[in-house]
């Protein structure tokens, strides 16, 4: 029941709005949702996320929830995990999914792209060493395919391996016999997903309207 819970246009909001690019209405809606999730507490914990029903079906639920508690996604150059997040962090993480504005320079576009990809990269790179190792990648792929039901774990592993091999052949090219590929660095990651229109794909529509009552 803090000062944040109030009508749009408050100074607290304008800070956030500037930082994240959301409009006051959107922040208002998100704040409402935040309150709903946290049962009117000031902070959100992992348990709160686990309570979301729709999320239960999501195969990569853990990764996504972790992303909310990852300091790297808070724009603060921090590292490591936190146990609970406040509203500000919540909105900042959400802002990764903001649609790009219509009038952007090439430079800004590149920056947004980088940020979005960084978010994705961080979801893979759990130990934060700047490299997605095979182990990490396998883990993600296994989770990702775990819901499809028809693919066994073994298969998922094979697919992850194949993807990794592919990555290695694309990003490194010729390898000497005694070399080995450690994992995907962020630079490679950028290069690999060059054709991916992430600016437009990794976006969701943040409504100004409140629809929280409709989904639990």
């Amino acid at each position: 029941m803090g000062a944040l819970q109030s009508s749009p246009g408050r100074p607290e909001y304008s800070d956030l709005a500037e930082k994240t690019g959301f409009s006051f209405e959107q922040i208002g809606v998100l704040h409402k949702r935040f309150k709903q999730l946290s049962h009117n507490e000031e902070t959100l914990r992992r348990d709160n996320f686990n309570e979301i029903n729709d999320l239960a079906l999501n195969p990569i639920r853990t990764q996504i929830i972790e992303a909310f508690f990852d300091r790297r996604n808070f724009h603060q150059n921090g590292e490591g995990k936190v146990q609970e997040i406040g509203f500000e962090e919540f909105v900042v993480v959400m802002s990764h999914f903001r649609p790009p504005s219509a009038h952007m320079t090439e430079e800004q576009r590149g920056k947004t792209r980088r940020e979005k990809l960084r978010f994705l990269f961080n979801m893979h790179d759990t130990d934060n060493d700047g490299i997605i190792t095979l182990e990490e990648y396998r883990h993600v792929v296994e989770e990702l395919l775990s819901r499809s039901g028809t693919l066994e774990k073994e298969t998922a592993k094979c697919i992850a391996d194949a993807a990794m091999l592919e990555v290695a052949s694309i990003s490194v090219g010729h390898m000497e016999p005694d070399e080995f590929y450690e994992g995907i660095t962020f630079e490679h990651f950028l290069k690999l997903l060059e054709r991916f229109e992430i600016e437009s794909k990794m976006t969701i529509r943040f409504l100004n309207m409140d629809t929280t009552t409709l989904c639990k």
Partner: protein, 850 residues
């Protein structure tokens, strides 16, 4: 009779000449307009026939019956001419790269029409609405629906619908009203057209034509969103136009004074009923097809037929109920595509795809040619400069205004707004086509005095848009730097990331409590997977539904192909071709099959080199270059090995060539499943074994008895090979198999089966329980060669010189089962490392295998 005889003679002689002559014989079949001509013609020929028949006494051995076959003959003949026209046009690439094919086909039609006119002085061939709407249009639309990228379509459905419904109504109304206004203002002289008739004309001109749009946009490759906006609009607005046309047609029949508010409301209601009813009919038929293909397992040969017949029936049913037939067939195709692709046998799916394209492309060709032919007709050319030019102008201008205005509204709600250049292309892509012409011809001359003027104007608009806008489209797209479609070579990583994306987006929407597209999509997907698939899909097909799996499988195939192509390029497979001399032990009678075999192989390789255009440099293959100089033979064997392992084609050959109902012997689901699994495992065997430090299970050689029986004459070469490889464990079999390969293929050609060693059951302990079907078969079927030498002698073994490749493999996508098979146990890997330890570095030449 005589003339007909000449005609037939010419038919065989020269095609183009015939184009001039055969119409004289009575093309009324296609057009129905020229029946009077046909009558006179036939009476004429009757005379000569009588004169002739008097002389005949007794039974004629051969008689010439042109009129007996006239109708189908002419139809078939015109199809042939159109196709030949297309053939000639497509042969000139430098022309088609500048002028779109559709424009060229129309021009070809002009020439043909000119010839006919020169011969007859009357145009006797014409595209009639019946032929067009019943026999030419359905397959084009069905193809469009069947190949529709559903996700893209439904993502942009809002925009498409707005353009298709509101945009089309706007086009129709604005064109009709403006023309009427101009007439009132006296711009067009004295024309007997009322407001309602103008609106009717506007409604038939309003629709963007799917046939024309596909034809032009196919060659331009604009980005997906832009394409689907134009294409989707063109598909859906056909329904709208036909509805509008019918409504206005009814209004015109009713006459001005009788139209009151009630009638107008009825018109609006009928609009929705027709559009939604048509879509509903389509959906029902689509579901019906899906259900049917669930149980067509035993009539695999004709199962593709169901799709076409039911698709056509959905069109006709909608037409019968006076609903929108076009919408019906579109939705039918869209609805069933997923399920029939999963339910049907792979071969049937290919058949459907190909024949769908064949039909669609064929009738598209015919449509354009006949659009051209129809132009050369004195009767329809009623010139009215004001009317024609104003129509052209309004069509173009209002299209621009409509698109820009509607997009402006849409962009306020779109996540990714359509850019300015996209809007320009959308507007400019508003091509009118055969649908407009077909509708114009359907106008009732009694009710609309100026029908010919309208037909003529429609034709001019069609030519203008298809030819002029079609030609300028490509330069415009270049000049405006419209975002082009990405090269669609999906890497596994991208596919996985994409999947990850979708889940992430859904999750974020869930967390933020928004109900957006992703939320809806995930709900729909959930429903679809749990209910629709359950009902409409075969249980066995449900399993194979993963796209990632698909890509993975494709990668496997590509790998194998690359591998072989590369080998072929280096000439390492040459010896296979020269092998005729080596394997002279064969009976002479079989030498023919050898030739076939070899020719076949070279074909295969040709095909492969064209399919595998992979821009990514393959590292392992570079490495091969060095090794291959030294061990070309071993390499070739290897390539064979791999090809067999990954392309299990040999098992897919059809044994019952003469049976009409059995085409493919490979119907065992388990087997197919197993092949999939195994290819997959094999592909990464080296990788995983390196990781886990597990040595692949030792090969157990079975069927020793048969092996001995089969060793036969080429044992010698085997021995030779053995000696040359002596000193390397596990290599003896492969060299033999290199020779056996072609031997086996030869026997296979003679009607036997060949078995693929890659799928021997003892390769994988997990599958030991399953008795592979071919083992059972081989016991029963004595005519069949049970297992190839390779299968028995060498299971995925390899010359151990390949071991050196192993670490390199890690860096490419090529991992094959055999690369690490021979690595001794002592070389176990650290399980955390991605890469097996490097082998002792040996210069490629010093190993003395050769």
């Amino acid at each position: 009779m005589l003339r007909c005889g000449y005609a037939l003679f010419w038919l065989l002689g020269s095609v183009l000449l015939i184009c001039v002559v055969s119409p004289v014989k009575g093309e009324a079949v296609v057009t129905r307009e020229g029946s009077h001509l046909k009558l006179s013609e036939s009476s004429h020929s009757n005379e000569s026939q009588h004169g002739h028949s008097f002389n005949i006494t007794g039974i004629p051995i051969v008689s010439f019956k042109w009129h007996h076959v006239e109708t189908p003959y002419l139809v078939a003949f015109w199809v042939l001419v159109s196709f030949l026209g297309k053939l000639v046009i497509e042969a000139n690439h430098h022309v088609t790269s500048v002028i779109p094919e559709s424009a060229l086909l129309i021009c070809f039609g002009f020439i043909l029409g000119g010839m006919i006119w020169a011969a007859d002085k009357v145009q006797t061939f014409r595209l009639t609405p019946t032929v067009f709407f019943f026999y030419l249009l359905p397959q084009v639309i069905l193809d469009a629906g069947y190949h529709m990228p559903n996700k893209l379509f439904f993502t942009n459905l809002g925009g498409i619908l707005v353009h298709a419904v509101i945009g089309t109504c706007w086009n129709a109304a604005s064109l009709g009203l403006s023309l009427w206004g101009c007439q009132m203002g006296g711009a067009m002289g004295d024309l007997d057209i009322g407001l309602l008739q103008y609106l009717l004309f506007g409604s038939l001109m309003a629709a963007v034509d799917p046939v024309a749009v596909i034809a032009v946009f196919e060659q331009v490759h604009v980005n997906d969103v832009l394409f689907i906006m134009v294409f989707g609009e063109s598909l859906l607005n056909d329904g709208v136009t036909v509805v509008l046309f019918n409504v206005f047609d009814a209004f015109v029949s009713l006459g001005g004074p009788k139209i009151d508010a009630a009638e107008i409301i009825k018109g609006i209601v009928s609009f929705f009923v027709v559009a939604f009813g048509g879509s509903l009919v389509g959906l029902v038929f689509g579901l019906l097809i899906s259900l049917l293909t669930r149980c067509t397992k035993n009539i695999q040969i004709i199962e593709p037929g169901f799709i076409f017949v039911l698709g056509y029936l959905s069109y006709l049913t909608a037409e019968m109920l006076s609903l929108s037939a076009i919408l019906s067939i579109v939705f039918c195709g869209m609805c069933c595509q997923k399920y029939i692709n999963a339910n049907m046998d792979e071969n049937s799916v290919q058949t459907v795809r190909y024949s769908m394209k064949a039909f669609a492309n064929g009738s598209e060709t015919i449509i354009f040619v006949f659009l051209g032919i129809s132009a050369i007709d004195k009767v329809i050319w009623v010139w009215n400069t004001g009317f024609i030019l104003l129509t052209l102008l309004f069509v173009l201008v209002y299209r621009f205004i409509g698109v820009f205005f509607l997009t402006w509204i849409l962009n306020r709600y779109r996540l990714v707004p359509l850019e300015f250049v996209d809007q320009v292309i959308m507007s400019y892509g508003g091509l009118r086509g055969a649908v407009a012409y077909g509708l114009a011809v359907m106008l009732d001359e009694n009710k609309i005095k100026e029908k010919n003027l309208m037909v003529c104007t429609t034709l001019i608009v069609v030519y203008f848009t298809v030819i002029l806008q079609g030609i300028t489209m490509k330069p415009l797209v270049m000049w405006l730097k419209v975002k082009r479609a990405a090269v669609t070579e999906v890497s596994l990583l991208e596919k996985l990331t994409n999947k990850m994306f979708n889940h992430t987006l859904v999750a974020i929407e869930d967390i933020s409590g928004q109900i957006g597209h992703n939320y809806m999509r995930s709900k729909w997907k959930y429903f679809e997977e749990n209910w629709m698939s359950w009902i409409l899909m075969k249980p066995s097909a449900r399993k194979k539904q993963d796209q990632v799996f698909d890509v993975f499988h494709q990668l496997n195939l590509k790998d194998a192909m690359e591998y072989v192509t590369e080998g072929e390029r280096r000439g390492s497979l040459e010896f296979v071709r020269n092998e005729n001399s080596i394997i002279d032990f064969k009976k002479k009678s079989e030498s023919e099959s050898f030739d076939i075999n070899n020719a076949n192989m070279s074909n295969d390789h040709g095909a492969m080199s064209t399919t595998s255009r992979d821009p990514i440099p393959s590292v392992s293959l570079e490495m091969h270059e060095q090794i291959m100089k030294a061990v070309r033979e071993a390499e070739a064997i290897n390539a064979h090995h791999l090809l067999d392992q990954h392309l299990y084609k040999s098992r897919k050959q059809h044994r019952h060539r003469f049976s009409r109902s059995h085409f493919d012997i490979n119907r065992d689901e388990k087997e197919v499943q197993e092949i999939f699994q195994r290819t997959m495992r094999n592909r990464l065997k080296s990788f995983t074994s390196a990781k886990m430090g597990v040595k692949p299970p030792k090969t157990i050689v079975k069927h020793t008895q048969k092996e001995q029986q089969q060793k036969m004459p080429n044992g010698k070469s085997m021995d030779k090979a053995k000696t040359s490889y002596s000193g390397d464990e596990g290599s003896e079999g492969d060299s033999a198999s290199g020779y056996d390969q072609s031997y086996m293929r030869a026997t296979y050609r003679a009607g036997a089966g060949i078995e693929n060693p890659a799928f021997m059951p003892d390769l994988d302990p997990m599958d030991l329980l399953q008795i592979p079907p071919w083992l059972g078969e081989s016991e029963l079927d004595s005519s069949m060669v049970a297992l190839s030498h390779r299968a028995q002698v060498d299971l995925p073994r390899t010359p151990s010189n390949l071991r050196r490749l192993a670490p390199l493999r890690i860096s490419t996508r090529s991992t094959d089962s055999f690369t690490l098979e021979n690595i001794p146990d002592t070389q176990q890997m650290d399980s955390d490392q991605l890469q097996p330890p490097p082998p002792p570095p040996r210069p490629p030449r010093d190993d003395g295998y050769v």
